[in-house]
């Protein structure tokens, strides 16, 4: 008889601790099922590199020994929006119309052409690049990034891509 009572007490004790866990279990169930969906919901959506060929300029405009600054307009889909962004590039007419991004490979500032010293200068951390885009001095890990280009119907076209900073060097 005494034995039975202890058994009963034990069952009721374990039952009580099971019931005590129930609210936590339900809470966890709700949070985990919504949390799983939340992970998929918030996962960043990476877009494939833009393979569009964008017009830079007519070949007839690209002359002379100096790099020519040009603006290109790229359409970009970011989530629910299509945005048009303007990017600057330099064309080197002397080097077979090679096109360079103006983004400094160090920290992403925009370089400009210094006519007096015949070089590209980055305004942020004093990196300098030669007229052919190669690195001269400063913290930049490499020269300016060349963009894929082609000539179509007498026009120079590029594919605009942004390369990562130092991680890719």
């Amino acid at each position: 008889m005494k034995q039975m009572n202890t058994d009963k007490a034990q069952t009721s004790k374990s039952r009580r601790s099971f019931l005590g866990m129930l609210p936590l279990g339900v809470l966890a169930g709700v949070v985990v099922s919504i949390g799983g969906a939340a992970f998929r919901f918030l996962r960043p959506r990476l877009s494939a590199p833009n393979e569009q060929w964008l017009d830079v300029a007519a070949l007839s405009e690209l002359r002379g020994p100096q790099p020519v600054a040009k603006k290109i307009v790229a359409e970009q889909i970011s989530g629910w929006a299509v945005t048009t962004e303007e990017h600057s590039v330099f064309v080197l007419p002397e080097k077979n119309n090679q096109v360079f991004s103006t983004i400094c490979p160090h920290a992403g500032c925009e370089v400009s052409w210094e006519q007096s010293t015949n070089r590209f200068a980055c305004p942020c951390h004093d990196s300098y690049f030669a007229a052919d885009g190669s690195r001269i001095s400063g913290p930049a890990p490499r020269g300016l990034d060349a963009l894929p280009s082609r000539v179509q119907d007498g026009k120079l076209q590029v594919q605009y891509r942004v390369q990562d900073g130092e991680t890719q060097a």
Partner: protein, 425 residues
Amino acid sequence: MSAPFSDRKAWLQTTGGVVGVLLLVQFLTGILLAFYYVPSVDHAHTTVSYIEKVVSSGSWLRSLHHYGSQWLALFVFLHVVRLFLSKAYVNRTLAWIVAVVMLGLVMAAAGTGYSLPWDARAFFSTRVAEGLMSGLPLVGRNARFWVLGGNDISTITLSRFFAVHVLIVPFAIMGVIAWQFGRRACWTNLSRNAIVGGVVFVALAIWCAKFPAPLGPAVEAMTADYLPRPGAQFLWLYELLKYVPGGLGSIVGVILPGMGLAILLLLPRLKAQRLLGSTVLGVLTAGIVTMTIVSYVSDRSNSHTREQLARQTAEEAKWRSEPFNPQLLQASQRESQTTSAAPVMYTKFCVNCHGPHGEGAQQGTLRFPPLLDVAAKPRRTTEDIVSLLKDPTAYGLEPPMRSFKDKLTEEQMREIAAWVVQLKR
């Protein structure tokens, strides 16, 4: 763990647990939706479509938020009824007051939330809110302006509803919960509450996996024959407003329910509690249940309505199967505008108030609205503007704007409308 597990009455005392679980669902899904939603008339519908069509689990999470809000309203109401039956207004006044306040807050959250997707049904729900406010005695005019944030429904109105929906009401709800549990830390009947809450959550999750939350056409794309229907928790109000003449709508739709809530709130302090409380709850329950049933029945029995609603459902299904179309954001560069000259009749009749280029004007204290970008507003297509010129009051415009039905031919109105819709800032 006082009552045995098989105690039926104890199982019925779990409405609080269900409300707790559903509130948790509303908070979690609401936070997630805010990651993509943009509260602006330009982007709201696009971003909600994006959540529905593109984002993984987006449709399910939005459905949880949508149907969860309806279930929440139901269970908070049942919770109030349950507390009333157990005389909580005498022996557990704090729980009672919290439950009644929660009912008001949940309805406020639902009412403001309905406007956010800025689809056709959101637009009409905003219109109804506007009408209910403007019909309030004494304060109506100002209440309407305060709700709208101006003299017409605009993107400012949407921002207001958004701020109330995501900041004010949730903070108030958290405050109320903190108040209850800060004062009374004893938990009774907890595991039964958890079990029933869990079961309701599973049911809601399955329901939402099966049924996506509705999304009507964007306000710009809405046709004149569109029949808006509110969510289940407002069907009673929608049906009720059919039967009361104009200005009385605000009394029946806002003041009476508000007074009912106030009486319930003050019940612990009132005399004849049982009688007053059961009258209020009885009238509310009877009214809500009857009107909701009547609204379902009348939609079914009228063949014209039934067909139109079926058409809308079919159109929504078709829209759902189409791929998402990203929206072009025009940043700084807008194409150079080649605005053609104003039509002769515009120069004759409209210029004095709206300016030679549609820029608006000020005459003394009267300020006349500009027409620039007017096509971006709801209900301002060329067709709409032609109808508006015939009957401005039908479009919510007030004098001095007058009807030009007798002064202009259909063709002249069409010419003016076509010129006005292309005006840009």
